[in-house]
Structure formats: structure tokens, C-alpha cells
Symmetry: C2
Subunit: 219 residues, 2 copies
């Protein structure tokens, strides 16, 4: 497992950089998925489960972006993915240039699916296009069903919402129907997957959707 | 309950603005406390409990900073505090100038204790001095004991750490001793309060500490 130190990209247009990443990845047939959430929402646990379930079918890479530490990259590598740890030099999000440098340092040849585990933050990552083909956000049950009201942009920007830690729903006042209604009001086309990476609940639907997105990307 | 729309302050020095807020608040004998955490850590639930417990002894104000919505300000007002909802125009943190404008809009005369509930974000708020006399961060059990490794700056900048949702600790793999050891390695002087606002566990210690800080501030 490698570690790369990144700092903010000095570039005229993050959007142009992001578009060129998408074009290149489409040519290679590698789907880049940008995973965004709060700290502690269970991104790495979810990813480890997906990797274990899909690694015999698809070649998977994971870029773990964090301000510090390399605990996450080690976990996904143990689960069976190619991985790299990216340190963001204090930055609260990944931009397209940083994403490109992390992909080049890891190597994405022959990979079907590359996850970017963005910095844990419900705000800033939503403002920067990373060049991903799909954006997925994660909301965990303990965070509460009011998050769409407070952090609307991330819900608007995401292609799919994964609601994690469903196994803990009896211990928290989380109204799933109300949450889904709030999310759909912001983004009527978003796909929503309530799951528990621990019990396996809902994982099949999420993984089927991911596989269908990989297939569409290779067309 | 009022709402104020804020945008980033245009100022030469945020640190100088923050220092002048601290001097003014010290003269008034009003302790400004900056509360920082991830989204969904239970800041508003904790605050509502503190307000109910202390409102007969101390006059309390709360400034709720959020990108959108006013659900939090309504909750703390119902609990018995003077309150204002501040919208940050998409900004991921509060700076000193924004804090000053929110305080002026709410009015802080005769208040003993004013809480600023900063935007839910473990990264950016730690980089901007708000002018608070004390900085408190909240980490909830479901977020995990590895957060000090991943977001060190906020733990370094805080005078106290409140570990919330202790009532849920049996459902999560959270090693309290390991977490405290990691935090103390970053900040040996930090005060740590494990609490449950739901069951009341640990609230007396936290509230006694808050009252002692208010008394010290008025000296």
C-alpha cells in the first residue's frame, strides 16, 4: 500500500480537469465512483464489504483520501482491493487534479471500478467535481433524518444515497420514510439504498446497481 | 426566533477580529463557547439538555449556524434559551466577523453563557478562530474511536471534548480508553466528558465544568 501527499491543485478550471478525467476513464472502461459522507458514517466498512462481495467478478481499486492516518487504506487492501492512501495536506475535500495524481500513483490499468473515498465532510466535497462517473453519498442512521434539510447540496449532487447502519435503527429516532421524502424533494432521480454492511441487509440491491453502472460505463 | 443570513467576512485578519471579540465579551462577563463536531453528533440534543438543566442559574443564548434550515434554533428556544438561526450562505465554517454579526443580531446583553453551534464539520471550523473563550468539540460513539487519528487539528484546538451518545456504546465497537489515549496524545490538557444527554450519564460533571468556566470568565 502506497501513500501519496497531495495539496490543492493550481489550475484554471477544476471543471475542465474533471471532464478530462471522465473522458479518459470512459475510454479505459474504468468507472470512478466518488464516495462522500460525514466522518464516521461507515464508508470504509461499507467498501470492505463491497470489495469482498465483488472482488471475484470485478477488479477494484480504492483511493482513501484523509487529512492524516492510513488506517482506511490498510482495511480495504486487506479486503482484497488495490489501494492507495492519499493525504490531503489539511484540505477538506479532493479536487480533480488531486484525484488524477492519486489515480496515477495507484495505477488504474485493467481496473473495472475505482472508488475515491473522499474526505469525511458533508459540505466541501460536494462543491468540487472530482471527475467521477458516479457520485454516491452515505448517510448513517445515527446522524439523523434531518440531514437533507441541513446539507442540501450533497444530496442534490449525488446519483445514489446509501443509508448505512440499518442494523442500529431500533436505537435511534430515524424516520426512514421522512428522510427519503426529504431527499427526493431535493433530487427526484436519486437512487436510495438502505443497507447494513454488518448484517448484509440491502447489500444485494446496492451491489447489483453498482455492477449495472460498471456495465453501462463500458458500453 | 430570528434568522440572519451571513456570508464570509472581508477582513485583514480573522485572528485580530477574534481577539477583539474575546476582549469585549470578557468585559461584559459573557462566556462565548464554540461547539464543533461532525453532522449528527448530537450537538443540539446536548445543548437542549444543558439549557434545561442550567436555565434557572444562568442566562443562556444559542447561535445556531447552519447552511440551511432552522430546526435547531427552534429546539433550543423551546428548551429555554435565547436563540438565533444563522445561515452561512453555503460556508463550511463560521469566522469571527460572522460570529460578531450573529451576536449583534441576537443581542448578548445580560447573558452569562452564549453557545455558538458551529456548522457540522470536523475540519474547517477548527481553522477559524471565532472569538470564543472556550472551544468544545463533540464526538459521538457511532462515529468511532479512530477520529483523533484522522482529524487531529480539531482535537488539538479544543479545550474540552464531549463524547456523546454513551447510551449506545453497547451497539458499536468504540474503545473509550483507546480513544482517550489518542486524544491526550494530541492535546494533553484537554478535558474529556463522556455523556449521554438521553440518560443523563456524565451530564453533572460537564455542567459543573461549564459553570466553573463561566465563573472564571467573570473574574
Amino acid at each position: 500500500m502506497k501513500t501519496i501527499e497531495l495539496n490543492a491543485s493550481v489550475t484554471a478550471s477544476n471543471d475542465a480537469d474533471a471532464d478530462s478525467i471522465r473522458i479518459e476513464m470512459k475510454k479505459k472502461g474504468t468507472l470512478l465512483v466518488n464516495l462522500m459522507s460525514s466522518p464516521g458514517s461507515g464508508k470504509t466498512t461499507l467498501l470492505s464489504r463491497i470489495i469482498k462481495d465483488l472482488k471475484d467478478e470485478k477488479k477494484i481499486g480504492v483511493m482513501e483520501a484523509d487529512i492524516a492516518s492510513d488506517v482506511d487504506a490498510q482495511r480495504v487492501e486487506d479486503a482484497g482491493a488495490k489501494s492507495i492512501q492519499a493525504h490531503t495536506d489539511g484540505m477538506c475535500h479532493m479536487d480533480a487534479g488531486m484525484t488524477r495524481r492519486a489515480m496515477e500513483a495507484m495505477g488504474t490499468d485493467n481496473l473495472d471500478l475505482v472508488f475515491l473515498e473522499n474526505v469525511g465532510n458533508l459540505i466541501c466535497p460536494a462543491e468540487f467535481d472530482t471527475g467521477a462517473g458516479k457520485n454516491i453519498m452515505i448517510l448513517s442512521i445515527p446522524e439523523g433524518d434531518d440531514k437533507p434539510l441541513k446539507y442540501p447540496l450533497m444530496f442534490e449532487k449525488s446519483d445514489a444515497l446509501v443509508i448505512t447502519k440499518m442494523d442500529t435503527k431500533d436505537y435511534f429516532d430515524f424516520d426512514l420514510d421522512k428522510c427519503i421524502e426529504r431527499v427526493k424533494r431535493l433530487n427526484k432521480d436519486i437512487e436510495i439504498f438502505p443497507v447494513s454492511a454488518k448484517s448484509g441487509e440491502g447489500m444485494d440491491d446496492l451491489e447489483d446497481w453498482l455492477l449495472s453502472q460498471v456495465a453501462l460505463w463500458k458500453e
